[in-house]
Amino acid sequence: MQVSMKLEMKDTPGQLVRVLEPISLCGGNIIAVIHQRDPESESDTLDVQIVLDLPAGRLPAVVDQIKVLGVNILRIDEERLLHKQSLIMIGHIMHTDISDTVDQIDRTGYAEVSELSLKMPAINERSSARITLRTANRKDMENAVALLRKVAARKELLIIEPLEEMT
């Protein structure tokens, strides 16, 4: 899970290192640290933005430990669904209940439909759609694609998947 945090901390030596410690200890990976020191500022605090990759479920513990250090967390943004894959569907996409097709993915809790582009050349003709799925990781994507494949088979839709990389 990728998380971005904006922190407000005392501008004292060693403070930033102490904040980063709990992240490494829980198996997290620090992707970026962005210092925002305003030279005009009169205040004795410093804003720092950090981007981390955390194991699932570890965020609350990390937040608690950072707070204990007297650091103020101004904002937390979770970028949960980093994996993106587009597939193409062909068939009677509207008449086989497109909202149900999307729902089936959204209801999984691990995957979402983030984009849908539909082309309908004529009434009663087969339509074509590009559907973009988002998940947190590769395994979830495989499961989401497998689910979509199953739904499509039941609705007699042809699914065109991307050729995945082997490496």
């Binding site: 193409i88 062909i90 050349p121 042809l158 065109i160 998947e161 050729l163 082997m166 490496t167």
Partner: protein, 331 residues
């Protein structure tokens, strides 16, 4: 230079291509017998290629009605049988019987016939091994691309982890034309038939069966599988819409029919796939392309002509010369 005697069965596009090359190039191979479905000729000293062509033009057969293909197979007039007759894909006949009989008699066999190789790979290889002869079939898969020789010799020591490929020129032509000109599937198919790239009954190509059979031949060769057509998950290209191709184009991608074998996932699949524009497998027109994924050499992609008289003959001639190199002069 010690030559070997070649008997050729089948005087269609591939057979004529082989005979032309034998006539034009000074190769250590002697064409000692030739037959099509209507007749044959045997001449141990080497048959006249110009006569065979002119007979074909005048009588419709390259040979004489008294001599049949089976007469040639059973004769002592050859060292290597080239089997390039038209085959029934369900039974592999008559090629299967020709090949089996020649191997039984201890003769080498080179074929472009997918049927017998896909249907009876394990049996035929075992028979050839028992008799101490070769069965070579480079021309069955991806025409001029020497993919089987590469997999068997060129990549020795590698573990082949996966194979992907565009293995059917007809489908690739149709998809390319739909993309370039915005044609419907039916329009592009009609054009392919006019150009001679698609059969009158295109089912075998467009439903993905031809690709599936080539995939089986490759998988059985590389991994010693005993896969059959029923083991392959097959989807063709006949339901693809111009809108779907446009949707792929919008994302800098294209749709191609891909054959895919990944033994670690127990996967043998033929299906239309979305391929990024810059991917090496994305070839145009009737070209074929195969990507091989290996542990030592990494990924390798081979691109070339998948069909054509002389192009396919190239694969047959390569097999013939390879056998000659290995066996000529042996007792």
């Amino acid at each position: 230079m010690k030559t070997m005697r070649v008997a050729l069965l089948g005087f269609g596009s591939v057979g004529q291509g082989v005979v032309r090359v034998l006539g034009e190039k000074d190769l250590p191979l002697t064409l000692s017998a030739i037959a099509d479905s209507k007749g044959g000729v045997i001449d141990d000293g080497g048959i006249s290629i110009t006569e065979a062509f002119s007979r074909k033009e005048k009588t419709g057969s390259c040979g004489k009605p008294k001599v049949t293909a089976m007469d040639i197979v059973r004769s002592n007039a050859y060292d290597i049988l080239v089997e390039v007759t038209p085959t029934n894909m369900a039974t592999g006949e008559p090629a299967l019987t020709h090949i089996r009989t020649a191997l039984e008699l201890g003769r080498h066999v080179v074929t472009s016939n997918k049927g017998p190789v896909a249907l009876a790979h394990r049996e035929l290889i075992a028979l050839a091994t028992k008799k101490g002869v070769e069965l070579r079939y480079e021309a069955t898969v991806c025409g001029a691309i020497p993919i089987i020789k590469t997999l068997r010799d060129g990549l020795l020591g590698n573990e082949v982890k996966a194979l992907f490929g565009v293995m059917n020129g007809t489908c690739n032509y149709i998809l390319t034309r739909m993309e370039d000109e915005g044609l419907t599937y039916d329009q592009a198919l009609g054009e392919a038939q006019e150009m001679g790239y698609a059969e009158k009954d295109p089912t075998y190509d467009v439903k993905g069966l031809d690709t599936a059979i080539k995939l089986i031949i490759l998988a059985n060769t590389v991994w010693g599988m005993d896969a059959k057509l029923g083991d392959v998950d097959v989807t063709g290209i006949d339901l693809i819409t111009p809108q779907a191709i446009q949707l792929a184009l919008d994302e800098e991608a294209a749709i191609r029919l891909i054959g895919e074998a990944i033994p670690s996932r127990n996967l043998l699949r033929v299906s239309p796939r979305i391929i990024p524009r810059n991917h090496p497998l994305l070839v145009e027109g009737t070209l074929n392309a195969v990507t091989v994924v290996t542990d030592l050499a990494g990924e390798l992609t081979f691109i070339g002509k998948g069909a054509g008289s002389i192009e396919t003959a190239s694969a047959v001639i390569g097999d013939l010369l390879s056998i000659r190199e290995q066996y000529a002069g042996r007792p």
